[in-house]
Protein backbone atom coordinates (compact mmCIF):
# COMPACT_ATOMS: atom_id res chain seq x y z
CA UNK A 1 0.00 0.00 0.00
CA UNK A 2 1.35 3.41 -0.93
CA UNK A 3 2.41 5.99 1.64
CA UNK A 4 -0.18 8.28 3.13
CA UNK A 5 0.13 11.97 2.43
CA UNK A 6 2.19 13.25 5.31
CA UNK A 7 0.62 16.69 4.91
CA UNK A 8 -2.68 15.38 6.14
CA UNK A 9 -1.28 13.59 9.17
CA UNK A 10 -0.03 15.05 12.42
CA UNK A 11 2.87 12.68 12.50
CA UNK A 12 4.13 14.14 15.78
CA UNK A 13 0.91 12.98 17.45
CA UNK A 14 1.60 9.36 16.46
CA UNK A 15 1.70 6.59 17.61
CA UNK A 16 -2.05 6.55 18.10
CA UNK A 17 -3.87 5.33 21.19
CA UNK A 18 -5.62 2.41 19.50
CA UNK A 19 -5.04 -1.23 20.48
CA UNK A 20 -3.04 -3.54 18.23
CA UNK A 21 -5.36 -4.99 15.59
CA UNK A 22 -7.92 -2.22 15.88
CA UNK A 23 -9.64 -1.27 12.63
CA UNK A 24 -9.74 2.45 13.40
CA UNK A 25 -6.35 3.08 11.83
CA UNK A 26 -7.41 1.41 8.57
CA UNK A 27 -10.61 3.43 8.36
CA UNK A 28 -8.74 6.64 9.18
CA UNK A 29 -6.17 5.90 6.47
CA UNK A 30 -8.96 5.29 3.95
CA UNK A 31 -10.48 8.63 4.92
CA UNK A 32 -7.18 10.45 4.45
CA UNK A 33 -6.61 8.90 1.03
CA UNK A 34 -10.18 9.67 0.02
CA UNK A 35 -9.81 13.33 1.00
CA UNK A 36 -6.60 13.48 -0.97
CA UNK A 37 -8.29 12.02 -4.06
CA UNK A 38 -11.17 14.49 -3.90
CA UNK A 39 -8.66 17.28 -4.45
CA UNK A 40 -10.33 19.39 -1.78
CA UNK A 41 -8.21 22.24 -0.51
CA UNK A 42 -6.73 21.28 2.86
CA UNK A 43 -7.91 24.52 4.42
CA UNK A 44 -11.53 23.81 3.44
CA UNK A 45 -11.62 20.40 5.08
CA UNK A 46 -12.86 20.03 8.64
CA UNK A 47 -12.91 16.83 10.64
CA UNK A 48 -15.54 16.71 13.37
CA UNK A 49 -15.79 13.77 15.74
CA UNK A 50 -17.71 12.61 18.76
CA UNK A 51 -16.45 10.62 21.74
CA UNK A 52 -15.09 7.10 21.56
CA UNK A 53 -12.09 5.23 20.19
CA UNK A 54 -12.65 6.08 16.52
CA UNK A 55 -13.39 9.73 17.29
CA UNK A 56 -9.82 10.16 18.47
CA UNK A 57 -8.85 10.05 14.80
CA UNK A 58 -9.54 13.80 14.58
CA UNK A 59 -6.47 14.52 16.69
CA UNK A 60 -4.17 12.74 14.22
CA UNK A 61 -5.38 14.50 11.09
CA UNK A 62 -3.82 17.74 9.95
CA UNK A 63 -6.89 19.84 9.23
CA UNK A 64 -9.08 22.00 11.38
CA UNK A 65 -10.31 19.32 13.73
CA UNK A 66 -13.15 19.43 16.21
CA UNK A 67 -13.43 16.71 18.82
CA UNK A 68 -16.84 17.33 20.40
CA UNK A 69 -19.03 15.81 23.11
CA UNK A 70 -20.51 12.30 23.13
CA UNK A 71 -23.17 11.92 20.46
CA UNK A 72 -23.22 15.58 19.48
CA UNK A 73 -20.73 15.72 16.61
CA UNK A 74 -23.45 16.18 13.97
CA UNK A 75 -25.07 19.02 15.89
CA UNK A 76 -21.74 20.88 16.17
CA UNK A 77 -21.14 20.17 12.49
CA UNK A 78 -24.57 21.50 11.55
CA UNK A 79 -23.79 24.84 13.21
CA UNK A 80 -20.41 25.06 11.53
CA UNK A 81 -21.77 24.10 8.10
CA UNK A 82 -24.55 26.68 8.36
CA UNK A 83 -22.05 29.37 9.36
CA UNK A 84 -19.51 28.36 6.70
CA UNK A 85 -21.26 26.44 3.93
CA UNK A 86 -18.13 26.38 1.75
CA UNK A 87 -16.34 24.04 4.17
CA UNK A 88 -16.17 20.28 3.57
CA UNK A 89 -17.09 18.47 6.74
CA UNK A 90 -16.32 14.85 7.58
CA UNK A 91 -17.95 13.69 10.79
CA UNK A 92 -16.40 10.61 12.39
CA UNK A 93 -18.56 8.76 14.88
CA UNK A 94 -18.64 5.37 16.48
CA UNK A 95 -21.74 3.16 16.41
CA UNK A 96 -22.84 3.98 19.96
CA UNK A 97 -21.93 7.64 19.62
CA UNK A 98 -23.93 8.01 16.41
CA UNK A 99 -26.93 5.75 16.88
CA UNK A 100 -27.58 5.75 20.66
CA UNK A 101 -26.75 9.02 22.37
CA UNK A 102 -26.50 10.83 19.04
CA UNK A 103 -29.50 9.18 17.40
CA UNK A 104 -31.64 12.29 17.44
CA UNK A 105 -28.99 14.40 15.72
CA UNK A 106 -28.41 11.62 13.21
CA UNK A 107 -32.03 11.43 12.04
CA UNK A 108 -32.44 15.20 11.97
CA UNK A 109 -29.24 15.75 10.01
CA UNK A 110 -30.61 13.20 7.57
CA UNK A 111 -34.01 14.91 7.49
CA UNK A 112 -32.44 18.27 6.69
CA UNK A 113 -30.23 16.62 4.09
CA UNK A 114 -27.47 18.96 5.18
CA UNK A 115 -24.22 18.47 3.30
CA UNK A 116 -22.21 16.58 5.91
CA UNK A 117 -20.28 13.36 5.40
CA UNK A 118 -20.94 11.02 8.31
CA UNK A 119 -18.34 8.28 8.63
CA UNK A 120 -19.75 5.80 11.11
CA UNK A 121 -17.10 3.41 12.33
CA UNK A 122 -19.17 0.41 13.34
CA UNK A 123 -17.35 -2.07 15.57
CA UNK A 124 -20.63 -3.22 17.16
CA UNK A 125 -19.52 -2.21 20.64
CA UNK A 126 -18.54 0.61 22.99
CA UNK A 127 -14.81 0.09 22.88
CA UNK A 128 -13.41 2.93 24.95
CA UNK A 129 -15.50 2.08 27.99
CA UNK A 130 -14.59 -1.58 27.73
CA UNK A 131 -17.27 -3.40 25.74
CA UNK A 132 -20.89 -2.46 26.38
CA UNK A 133 -23.55 -3.26 23.77
CA UNK A 134 -24.67 -0.57 21.36
CA UNK A 135 -27.72 -0.22 19.12
CA UNK A 136 -25.59 -1.79 16.38
CA UNK A 137 -24.55 -4.87 18.37
CA UNK A 138 -26.16 -7.87 16.62
CA UNK A 139 -28.77 -9.70 18.71
CA UNK A 140 -27.21 -12.48 20.75
CA UNK A 141 -23.71 -11.03 20.82
CA UNK A 142 -22.08 -10.67 24.21
CA UNK A 143 -21.03 -7.46 25.91
CA UNK A 144 -20.09 -6.53 29.46
CA UNK A 145 -23.61 -5.18 29.86
CA UNK A 146 -25.13 -8.17 28.08
CA UNK A 147 -23.13 -11.09 29.49
CA UNK A 148 -25.61 -13.64 28.15
CA UNK A 149 -25.86 -11.95 24.76
CA UNK A 150 -27.96 -8.90 23.98
CA UNK A 151 -31.68 -9.45 23.51
CA UNK A 152 -32.09 -6.15 21.69
CA UNK A 153 -32.38 -6.05 17.93
CA UNK A 154 -29.90 -3.82 16.12
CA UNK A 155 -30.65 -0.83 13.91
CA UNK A 156 -30.04 -1.14 10.21
CA UNK A 157 -28.21 2.18 10.19
CA UNK A 158 -28.45 2.89 6.49
CA UNK A 159 -32.15 2.07 6.31
CA UNK A 160 -32.64 4.36 9.29
CA UNK A 161 -30.70 7.11 7.54
CA UNK A 162 -32.59 6.76 4.29
CA UNK A 163 -35.95 6.60 6.06
CA UNK A 164 -35.06 9.83 7.81
CA UNK A 165 -34.13 11.59 4.58
CA UNK A 166 -30.42 11.01 3.98
CA UNK A 167 -29.64 11.03 0.25
CA UNK A 168 -26.47 8.94 0.18
CA UNK A 169 -25.69 5.73 2.01
CA UNK A 170 -22.82 3.32 1.56
CA UNK A 171 -21.35 0.42 3.45
CA UNK A 172 -17.74 -0.65 3.49
CA UNK A 173 -15.33 -2.32 5.85
CA UNK A 174 -11.80 -2.24 7.16
CA UNK A 175 -10.98 -5.49 5.35
CA UNK A 176 -11.50 -3.80 1.99
CA UNK A 177 -9.89 -0.40 2.50
CA UNK A 178 -9.65 0.43 -1.23
CA UNK A 179 -13.35 0.07 -1.65
CA UNK A 180 -13.97 2.05 1.54
CA UNK A 181 -11.82 4.84 0.18
CA UNK A 182 -13.89 4.91 -3.03
CA UNK A 183 -17.12 5.03 -1.04
CA UNK A 184 -15.87 7.97 1.01
CA UNK A 185 -14.94 9.81 -2.18
CA UNK A 186 -18.44 9.22 -3.55
CA UNK A 187 -19.94 10.47 -0.28
CA UNK A 188 -17.72 13.55 -0.30
CA UNK A 189 -18.77 14.43 -3.83
CA UNK A 190 -22.44 13.91 -3.07
CA UNK A 191 -24.35 17.04 -2.13
CA UNK A 192 -26.56 16.29 0.85
CA UNK A 193 -26.35 14.18 3.96
CA UNK A 194 -24.11 11.18 3.25
CA UNK A 195 -23.54 8.23 5.49
CA UNK A 196 -20.71 5.76 5.09
CA UNK A 197 -20.96 2.87 7.51
CA UNK A 198 -17.52 1.33 7.90
CA UNK A 199 -17.42 -2.03 9.64
CA UNK A 200 -14.29 -2.22 11.75
CA UNK A 201 -12.88 -4.91 14.01
CA UNK A 202 -12.51 -4.31 17.71
CA UNK A 203 -10.67 -7.45 18.73
CA UNK A 204 -10.23 -6.24 22.30
CA UNK A 205 -13.66 -5.24 23.52
CA UNK A 206 -15.83 -7.23 21.08
CA UNK A 207 -13.93 -9.99 19.31
CA UNK A 208 -12.45 -11.62 22.38
CA UNK A 209 -15.71 -11.80 24.34
CA UNK A 210 -17.56 -13.21 21.34
CA UNK A 211 -14.82 -15.70 20.44
CA UNK A 212 -14.32 -14.19 17.00
CA UNK A 213 -10.58 -14.74 17.05
CA UNK A 214 -7.92 -12.07 16.60
CA UNK A 215 -7.89 -9.08 14.32
CA UNK A 216 -6.83 -11.13 11.31
CA UNK A 217 -9.68 -13.60 11.80
CA UNK A 218 -12.17 -10.79 12.22
CA UNK A 219 -10.98 -9.07 9.07
CA UNK A 220 -11.08 -12.32 7.14
CA UNK A 221 -14.64 -12.99 8.23
CA UNK A 222 -15.62 -9.43 7.37
CA UNK A 223 -14.26 -9.89 3.88
CA UNK A 224 -15.83 -13.32 3.38
CA UNK A 225 -19.25 -12.13 4.45
CA UNK A 226 -19.15 -9.06 2.31
CA UNK A 227 -20.89 -9.06 -1.03
CA UNK A 228 -21.22 -6.21 -3.48
CA UNK A 229 -24.50 -4.45 -4.14
CA UNK A 230 -24.26 -5.50 -7.78
CA UNK A 231 -23.86 -9.20 -7.03
CA UNK A 232 -26.45 -9.09 -4.26
CA UNK A 233 -29.02 -7.74 -6.73
CA UNK A 234 -29.25 -11.16 -8.36
CA UNK A 235 -29.46 -13.17 -5.15
CA UNK A 236 -32.48 -14.14 -3.11
CA UNK A 237 -33.00 -13.65 0.60
CA UNK A 238 -31.83 -17.11 1.57
CA UNK A 239 -28.55 -16.61 -0.26
CA UNK A 240 -28.05 -13.24 1.37
CA UNK A 241 -28.61 -14.55 4.87
CA UNK A 242 -25.66 -13.61 7.04
CA UNK A 243 -23.96 -11.59 4.27
CA UNK A 244 -23.20 -7.87 4.42
CA UNK A 245 -24.02 -5.93 1.31
CA UNK A 246 -21.23 -3.52 0.47
CA UNK A 247 -21.12 -0.52 -1.80
CA UNK A 248 -23.38 2.42 -2.50
CA UNK A 249 -26.78 1.35 -1.22
CA UNK A 250 -28.58 4.50 -2.22
CA UNK A 251 -27.86 7.84 -3.83
CA UNK A 252 -30.83 10.16 -4.22
CA UNK A 253 -31.42 13.73 -5.26
CA UNK A 254 -33.07 16.20 -2.89
CA UNK A 255 -32.52 19.85 -1.91
CA UNK A 256 -29.57 20.34 0.40
CA UNK A 257 -30.34 22.38 3.52
CA UNK A 258 -27.51 24.92 3.74
CA UNK A 259 -27.87 25.81 0.08
CA UNK A 260 -31.66 26.06 0.39
CA UNK A 261 -31.31 28.31 3.44
CA UNK A 262 -28.85 30.67 1.82
CA UNK A 263 -30.91 30.79 -1.35
CA UNK A 264 -33.96 31.71 0.74
CA UNK A 265 -32.11 34.74 2.09
CA UNK A 266 -30.89 35.74 -1.33
CA UNK A 267 -27.36 34.35 -1.22
CA UNK A 268 -26.06 31.85 -3.71
CA UNK A 269 -23.48 29.54 -2.20
CA UNK A 270 -23.74 27.02 -5.10
Amino acid sequence: MEQLTQDFLRTKKLPHIWCPGCGNGIVTAALVRAIERTGFDQKDVVIVSGIGCSSRAAGYLNFNTLHTTHGRALAFATGLKMARPELKLFVIMGDGDCSAIGGNHFIHSARRNIDLNAIVVNNHIYGMTGGQHSPLTPTGKKATTAPGGTLEPAFDLLKLARGAGATFGAKGNAAQPRQLEQLIIRAANHKGFSVVEALSPCPIAYGRRNKLGGAVDMLREMKEKSISVERAANMDEAELEDRTINGVLFSDDAPEYAEAYYRSIGKDIG
Binding site: T65, L66, T68, A75, A83, H105
Partner: protein, 375 residues
Protein backbone atom coordinates in the same frame (compact mmCIF):
# COMPACT_ATOMS: atom_id res chain seq x y z
CA UNK B 1 -22.43 57.27 22.12
CA UNK B 2 -24.23 57.27 18.76
CA UNK B 3 -27.60 59.00 18.43
CA UNK B 4 -30.46 57.22 20.08
CA UNK B 5 -34.14 56.75 19.46
CA UNK B 6 -36.66 55.57 22.06
CA UNK B 7 -38.42 52.28 21.30
CA UNK B 8 -41.02 50.45 23.33
CA UNK B 9 -40.09 46.80 23.58
CA UNK B 10 -40.23 43.63 25.61
CA UNK B 11 -37.25 42.32 27.60
CA UNK B 12 -36.90 39.28 25.38
CA UNK B 13 -37.09 41.41 22.25
CA UNK B 14 -34.51 43.78 23.69
CA UNK B 15 -32.19 40.85 24.26
CA UNK B 16 -32.53 39.81 20.60
CA UNK B 17 -32.14 43.39 19.37
CA UNK B 18 -29.05 43.90 21.53
CA UNK B 19 -27.51 40.71 20.24
CA UNK B 20 -28.00 41.75 16.63
CA UNK B 21 -26.59 45.18 17.34
CA UNK B 22 -23.50 43.56 18.84
CA UNK B 23 -22.97 41.54 15.69
CA UNK B 24 -24.69 38.24 16.45
CA UNK B 25 -25.47 36.57 13.13
CA UNK B 26 -26.23 33.04 14.22
CA UNK B 27 -28.99 31.74 16.41
CA UNK B 28 -29.81 28.10 17.15
CA UNK B 29 -32.57 27.27 19.57
CA UNK B 30 -35.44 25.10 20.63
CA UNK B 31 -38.90 26.39 21.60
CA UNK B 32 -39.46 26.87 25.33
CA UNK B 33 -41.59 29.22 27.41
CA UNK B 34 -40.90 31.96 28.47
CA UNK B 35 -37.93 32.55 26.14
CA UNK B 36 -39.59 31.89 22.78
CA UNK B 37 -39.81 35.56 21.77
CA UNK B 38 -36.03 35.71 21.57
CA UNK B 39 -36.08 32.93 18.96
CA UNK B 40 -39.01 34.48 17.13
CA UNK B 41 -37.25 37.82 16.86
CA UNK B 42 -34.11 36.16 15.61
CA UNK B 43 -36.07 34.06 13.09
CA UNK B 44 -37.61 37.25 11.72
CA UNK B 45 -34.54 39.45 11.68
CA UNK B 46 -31.47 37.30 11.00
CA UNK B 47 -32.45 36.26 7.44
CA UNK B 48 -32.94 39.95 6.58
CA UNK B 49 -29.34 40.73 7.44
CA UNK B 50 -27.67 37.67 5.98
CA UNK B 51 -27.54 35.77 9.25
CA UNK B 52 -28.47 32.20 10.11
CA UNK B 53 -31.43 31.10 12.19
CA UNK B 54 -31.90 27.42 12.79
CA UNK B 55 -34.38 25.63 14.99
CA UNK B 56 -32.59 22.52 16.17
CA UNK B 57 -33.99 19.15 17.16
CA UNK B 58 -33.39 19.72 20.86
CA UNK B 59 -31.73 21.99 23.43
CA UNK B 60 -28.51 20.00 23.41
CA UNK B 61 -28.20 20.33 19.65
CA UNK B 62 -28.83 24.06 19.72
CA UNK B 63 -26.00 24.58 22.20
CA UNK B 64 -23.75 22.41 20.02
CA UNK B 65 -24.72 24.24 16.83
CA UNK B 66 -23.96 27.59 18.42
CA UNK B 67 -20.48 26.39 19.34
CA UNK B 68 -19.94 25.00 15.85
CA UNK B 69 -20.97 28.30 14.26
CA UNK B 70 -18.69 30.25 16.62
CA UNK B 71 -15.77 28.11 15.50
CA UNK B 72 -16.76 29.10 11.99
CA UNK B 73 -16.32 32.73 13.00
CA UNK B 74 -19.88 33.90 13.63
CA UNK B 75 -21.11 35.66 16.75
CA UNK B 76 -23.73 33.41 18.26
CA UNK B 77 -26.60 33.31 20.71
CA UNK B 78 -29.10 30.80 22.00
CA UNK B 79 -31.97 31.27 24.43
CA UNK B 80 -33.79 28.87 26.70
CA UNK B 81 -35.45 28.44 30.08
CA UNK B 82 -34.94 26.13 33.09
CA UNK B 83 -35.47 22.64 31.64
CA UNK B 84 -33.61 23.59 28.48
CA UNK B 85 -30.86 25.24 30.48
CA UNK B 86 -30.34 21.95 32.29
CA UNK B 87 -29.93 20.19 28.95
CA UNK B 88 -27.44 22.73 27.67
CA UNK B 89 -25.03 22.28 30.55
CA UNK B 90 -22.71 19.66 29.06
CA UNK B 91 -22.00 21.60 25.90
CA UNK B 92 -21.79 24.84 27.86
CA UNK B 93 -18.94 23.22 29.79
CA UNK B 94 -17.36 22.24 26.47
CA UNK B 95 -17.46 25.86 25.28
CA UNK B 96 -15.84 27.00 28.51
CA UNK B 97 -13.13 24.36 28.24
CA UNK B 98 -12.46 24.92 24.53
CA UNK B 99 -12.80 28.71 25.04
CA UNK B 100 -15.40 29.21 22.33
CA UNK B 101 -17.33 32.47 22.69
CA UNK B 102 -21.13 32.34 22.78
CA UNK B 103 -24.01 33.85 24.71
CA UNK B 104 -26.68 31.74 26.40
CA UNK B 105 -29.85 33.44 27.53
CA UNK B 106 -31.83 31.73 30.27
CA UNK B 107 -35.22 33.31 30.91
CA UNK B 108 -35.82 31.79 34.32
CA UNK B 109 -39.14 30.26 35.21
CA UNK B 110 -40.42 28.57 38.32
CA UNK B 111 -38.78 25.20 38.92
CA UNK B 112 -37.70 22.57 39.73
CA UNK B 113 -38.52 20.39 36.74
CA UNK B 114 -41.37 21.61 34.53
CA UNK B 115 -42.45 23.74 37.50
CA UNK B 116 -44.74 26.60 36.55
CA UNK B 117 -43.64 27.51 33.02
CA UNK B 118 -45.22 30.96 33.03
CA UNK B 119 -44.38 32.00 36.59
CA UNK B 120 -41.30 34.06 37.38
CA UNK B 121 -38.54 32.85 39.65
CA UNK B 122 -34.85 33.33 40.30
CA UNK B 123 -34.14 29.72 41.03
CA UNK B 124 -31.36 29.16 38.50
CA UNK B 125 -28.74 31.44 40.04
CA UNK B 126 -26.69 28.59 41.46
CA UNK B 127 -27.26 26.42 38.39
CA UNK B 128 -25.89 29.23 36.26
CA UNK B 129 -22.78 29.12 38.43
CA UNK B 130 -22.32 25.40 38.87
CA UNK B 131 -24.63 23.69 36.37
CA UNK B 132 -21.90 22.12 34.29
CA UNK B 133 -19.50 19.69 35.91
CA UNK B 134 -15.99 20.44 37.06
CA UNK B 135 -14.30 23.62 38.24
CA UNK B 136 -15.01 26.27 35.68
CA UNK B 137 -15.16 30.03 35.32
CA UNK B 138 -18.46 31.59 34.34
CA UNK B 139 -19.86 35.05 33.71
CA UNK B 140 -23.53 35.68 34.42
CA UNK B 141 -25.32 38.96 33.80
CA UNK B 142 -28.70 39.63 35.35
CA UNK B 143 -30.75 42.45 33.77
CA UNK B 144 -33.27 44.32 35.93
CA UNK B 145 -35.01 46.20 33.14
CA UNK B 146 -35.66 46.04 29.43
CA UNK B 147 -32.97 48.64 28.99
CA UNK B 148 -30.47 46.43 30.84
CA UNK B 149 -31.60 43.42 28.87
CA UNK B 150 -30.56 45.30 25.73
CA UNK B 151 -27.25 46.66 26.96
CA UNK B 152 -26.13 43.69 29.02
CA UNK B 153 -26.69 41.41 26.03
CA UNK B 154 -24.46 43.70 23.99
CA UNK B 155 -21.86 43.64 26.74
CA UNK B 156 -22.15 39.86 26.93
CA UNK B 157 -21.55 39.40 23.20
CA UNK B 158 -18.55 41.71 23.09
CA UNK B 159 -16.97 40.43 26.29
CA UNK B 160 -17.55 36.84 25.26
CA UNK B 161 -15.55 37.51 22.09
CA UNK B 162 -12.81 39.34 23.90
CA UNK B 163 -12.33 36.72 26.60
CA UNK B 164 -13.26 33.66 24.51
CA UNK B 165 -15.63 32.80 27.29
CA UNK B 166 -19.30 31.77 27.17
CA UNK B 167 -21.53 34.25 28.97
CA UNK B 168 -24.97 33.66 30.42
CA UNK B 169 -27.64 36.35 30.39
CA UNK B 170 -29.94 35.34 33.22
CA UNK B 171 -33.26 36.97 32.59
CA UNK B 172 -36.41 36.21 34.50
CA UNK B 173 -39.96 35.90 33.29
CA UNK B 174 -40.84 39.38 34.59
CA UNK B 175 -38.08 41.22 32.70
CA UNK B 176 -38.42 38.93 29.68
CA UNK B 177 -42.08 39.72 29.18
CA UNK B 178 -42.38 43.31 30.43
CA UNK B 179 -42.53 46.24 28.03
CA UNK B 180 -40.50 49.37 28.60
CA UNK B 181 -38.91 52.16 26.67
CA UNK B 182 -35.35 51.57 25.54
CA UNK B 183 -33.05 54.08 23.92
CA UNK B 184 -31.74 52.28 20.87
CA UNK B 185 -28.57 53.73 19.39
CA UNK B 186 -28.53 54.43 15.66
CA UNK B 187 -25.03 53.02 15.23
CA UNK B 188 -23.55 49.67 16.09
CA UNK B 189 -22.30 48.76 19.53
CA UNK B 190 -20.11 46.00 18.27
CA UNK B 191 -16.54 45.79 19.41
CA UNK B 192 -14.41 44.36 16.62
CA UNK B 193 -11.86 41.72 17.40
CA UNK B 194 -8.28 42.01 16.35
CA UNK B 195 -7.89 41.02 12.73
CA UNK B 196 -7.09 37.48 11.74
CA UNK B 197 -4.42 38.69 9.34
CA UNK B 198 -1.76 39.18 12.00
CA UNK B 199 -1.90 35.57 13.12
CA UNK B 200 1.62 34.14 13.45
CA UNK B 201 2.38 31.01 11.43
CA UNK B 202 3.04 29.25 14.74
CA UNK B 203 -0.50 30.01 15.87
CA UNK B 204 -1.28 28.78 19.37
CA UNK B 205 -5.03 28.88 19.92
CA UNK B 206 -4.48 28.32 23.64
CA UNK B 207 -1.42 30.46 24.13
CA UNK B 208 -0.27 30.32 27.74
CA UNK B 209 0.58 33.98 27.66
CA UNK B 210 -2.99 35.19 27.54
CA UNK B 211 -6.06 35.06 25.36
CA UNK B 212 -5.13 34.18 21.79
CA UNK B 213 -7.61 35.33 19.14
CA UNK B 214 -9.82 32.53 17.89
CA UNK B 215 -8.95 32.15 14.21
CA UNK B 216 -12.03 30.56 12.67
CA UNK B 217 -11.79 27.20 10.90
CA UNK B 218 -11.14 27.34 7.19
CA UNK B 219 -8.26 29.79 7.05
CA UNK B 220 -5.35 27.40 6.97
CA UNK B 221 -4.45 27.32 10.67
CA UNK B 222 -4.79 23.66 11.48
CA UNK B 223 -5.43 23.40 15.17
CA UNK B 224 -7.48 20.99 17.26
CA UNK B 225 -10.45 21.80 19.45
CA UNK B 226 -11.45 19.38 22.21
CA UNK B 227 -13.18 19.21 25.57
CA UNK B 228 -10.23 17.21 26.85
CA UNK B 229 -7.53 19.09 28.69
CA UNK B 230 -5.21 20.31 26.00
CA UNK B 231 -1.88 21.95 25.34
CA UNK B 232 -1.32 25.34 23.70
CA UNK B 233 -2.14 23.89 20.27
CA UNK B 234 -5.32 22.22 21.45
CA UNK B 235 -4.00 18.65 21.59
CA UNK B 236 -5.10 16.40 24.44
CA UNK B 237 -2.89 16.13 27.48
CA UNK B 238 -3.18 14.38 30.81
CA UNK B 239 0.11 15.70 32.10
CA UNK B 240 -0.61 16.96 35.66
CA UNK B 241 1.36 20.26 35.48
CA UNK B 242 -0.19 21.11 32.10
CA UNK B 243 -3.66 20.23 33.32
CA UNK B 244 -3.29 22.41 36.38
CA UNK B 245 -1.85 25.26 34.35
CA UNK B 246 -4.68 25.10 31.82
CA UNK B 247 -7.34 25.20 34.51
CA UNK B 248 -5.64 28.13 36.22
CA UNK B 249 -5.38 30.00 32.95
CA UNK B 250 -9.09 29.89 32.11
CA UNK B 251 -9.85 31.21 35.59
CA UNK B 252 -7.16 33.87 35.50
CA UNK B 253 -8.58 35.55 32.43
CA UNK B 254 -11.71 36.43 34.39
CA UNK B 255 -9.68 37.76 37.31
CA UNK B 256 -7.60 39.87 34.98
CA UNK B 257 -10.60 41.54 33.38
CA UNK B 258 -12.67 41.71 36.55
CA UNK B 259 -13.29 45.44 36.24
CA UNK B 260 -14.96 44.97 32.87
CA UNK B 261 -16.93 41.95 34.01
CA UNK B 262 -18.25 42.79 37.46
CA UNK B 263 -20.96 45.42 37.12
CA UNK B 264 -22.88 46.74 40.12
CA UNK B 265 -24.75 49.90 40.91
CA UNK B 266 -25.39 51.60 44.24
CA UNK B 267 -28.16 54.10 44.93
CA UNK B 268 -29.22 55.63 48.24
CA UNK B 269 -27.74 57.12 51.37
CA UNK B 270 -23.98 57.75 51.55
CA UNK B 271 -23.83 56.26 55.00
CA UNK B 272 -26.52 53.63 54.98
CA UNK B 273 -27.41 51.53 57.99
CA UNK B 274 -29.56 49.13 56.06
CA UNK B 275 -28.82 48.04 52.51
CA UNK B 276 -30.65 45.83 50.08
CA UNK B 277 -28.63 43.65 47.71
CA UNK B 278 -30.72 42.57 44.74
CA UNK B 279 -30.53 41.37 41.15
CA UNK B 280 -32.96 40.85 38.28
CA UNK B 281 -36.61 41.84 38.64
CA UNK B 282 -36.31 42.05 42.42
CA UNK B 283 -34.20 45.19 41.93
CA UNK B 284 -37.36 46.96 40.76
CA UNK B 285 -39.23 46.45 44.02
CA UNK B 286 -36.13 47.27 46.02
CA UNK B 287 -35.54 50.45 44.04
CA UNK B 288 -39.06 51.65 44.70
CA UNK B 289 -38.52 51.16 48.43
CA UNK B 290 -35.12 52.85 48.54
CA UNK B 291 -36.31 55.78 46.44
CA UNK B 292 -39.12 56.44 48.87
CA UNK B 293 -37.13 55.82 52.03
CA UNK B 294 -34.06 57.77 51.00
CA UNK B 295 -35.08 60.33 48.40
CA UNK B 296 -38.34 61.27 50.10
CA UNK B 297 -37.61 60.56 53.73
CA UNK B 298 -33.79 60.75 53.91
CA UNK B 299 -33.56 57.47 55.75
CA UNK B 300 -30.13 55.75 55.87
CA UNK B 301 -31.02 53.13 53.31
CA UNK B 302 -29.31 52.00 50.10
CA UNK B 303 -29.55 49.49 47.29
CA UNK B 304 -26.69 47.64 45.69
CA UNK B 305 -27.99 46.08 42.50
CA UNK B 306 -25.92 43.40 40.85
CA UNK B 307 -25.87 43.38 37.07
CA UNK B 308 -23.20 40.70 37.35
CA UNK B 309 -23.96 37.87 39.73
CA UNK B 310 -21.03 35.65 38.66
CA UNK B 311 -18.16 36.13 39.19
CA UNK B 312 -19.65 37.21 42.49
CA UNK B 313 -19.07 40.89 43.34
CA UNK B 314 -17.17 39.94 46.49
CA UNK B 315 -15.25 43.21 46.89
CA UNK B 316 -18.38 45.30 46.57
CA UNK B 317 -20.17 43.23 49.21
CA UNK B 318 -17.17 43.39 51.54
CA UNK B 319 -17.07 47.17 51.25
CA UNK B 320 -20.80 47.48 51.76
CA UNK B 321 -20.79 45.22 54.81
CA UNK B 322 -18.23 47.47 56.47
CA UNK B 323 -20.61 50.40 56.16
CA UNK B 324 -23.96 48.95 57.14
CA UNK B 325 -25.50 47.10 60.06
CA UNK B 326 -27.84 44.98 57.99
CA UNK B 327 -27.93 43.65 54.43
CA UNK B 328 -31.27 42.39 53.19
CA UNK B 329 -31.17 39.99 50.26
CA UNK B 330 -34.55 39.57 48.54
CA UNK B 331 -34.65 36.65 46.12
CA UNK B 332 -37.40 34.80 44.31
CA UNK B 333 -36.04 31.47 45.45
CA UNK B 334 -35.41 29.72 48.75
CA UNK B 335 -32.17 31.65 49.31
CA UNK B 336 -29.36 31.17 46.81
CA UNK B 337 -27.13 34.22 46.38
CA UNK B 338 -27.64 35.16 50.04
CA UNK B 339 -25.08 32.53 50.97
CA UNK B 340 -22.45 34.34 48.92
CA UNK B 341 -23.43 37.69 50.40
CA UNK B 342 -23.04 36.23 53.86
CA UNK B 343 -19.67 34.76 52.97
CA UNK B 344 -18.25 38.08 51.80
CA UNK B 345 -19.93 40.18 54.48
CA UNK B 346 -17.49 38.31 56.72
CA UNK B 347 -19.55 38.96 59.82
CA UNK B 348 -19.28 42.74 59.45
CA UNK B 349 -23.01 43.08 58.85
CA UNK B 350 -26.03 40.97 59.62
CA UNK B 351 -27.29 39.34 56.43
CA UNK B 352 -31.04 38.79 56.25
CA UNK B 353 -32.66 36.67 53.53
CA UNK B 354 -36.06 37.65 52.18
CA UNK B 355 -37.50 34.92 50.03
CA UNK B 356 -40.56 34.28 47.99
CA UNK B 357 -41.13 31.16 45.95
CA UNK B 358 -44.80 31.03 45.09
CA UNK B 359 -44.38 32.26 41.53
CA UNK B 360 -45.12 35.88 42.44
CA UNK B 361 -42.77 38.86 42.53
CA UNK B 362 -41.44 40.17 45.81
CA UNK B 363 -43.47 43.32 46.38
CA UNK B 364 -42.11 46.69 47.50
CA UNK B 365 -44.26 46.32 50.62
CA UNK B 366 -42.47 43.13 51.61
CA UNK B 367 -39.08 44.76 51.25
CA UNK B 368 -40.23 47.96 52.93
CA UNK B 369 -41.49 46.00 55.91
CA UNK B 370 -38.18 44.17 56.27
CA UNK B 371 -36.16 47.37 55.93
CA UNK B 372 -38.37 49.05 58.55
CA UNK B 373 -37.72 46.21 60.98
CA UNK B 374 -33.97 46.99 61.03
CA UNK B 375 -33.99 50.80 60.99
Amino acid sequence: MPETKPVLMQGNEACAAGAINAGVRFYAGYPITPSTEVAEQMAARLPEIGGVFIQMEDEIASMAAVIGASIGGMRTLTATSGPGFSLKQENLGYAIMAEIPCVVVNVQRMGPSTGVPTAPAQGDVMQARWGTHGDHPIIVFCPASVYESYYLTIAAVNLSQKLRQPIIVLLDEVIGHMREKVLIPEGKLMVERSSDKDVPSDYKPYDEKGIAPLVPFGFGHYYHVTGLFHDQYGFPTGDPPQVERALDRIHEKLEKYRDEIVLTNYIGHKEPRVAVVAYGCTVRSARAVVKKAYWQNRMPVGLLSLQTVWPFPAEEIEALAKKVDVIIVPEMNMGQLVGEVERYARGEAKVVPLNRYDGEMISPDQISEEVGRWL
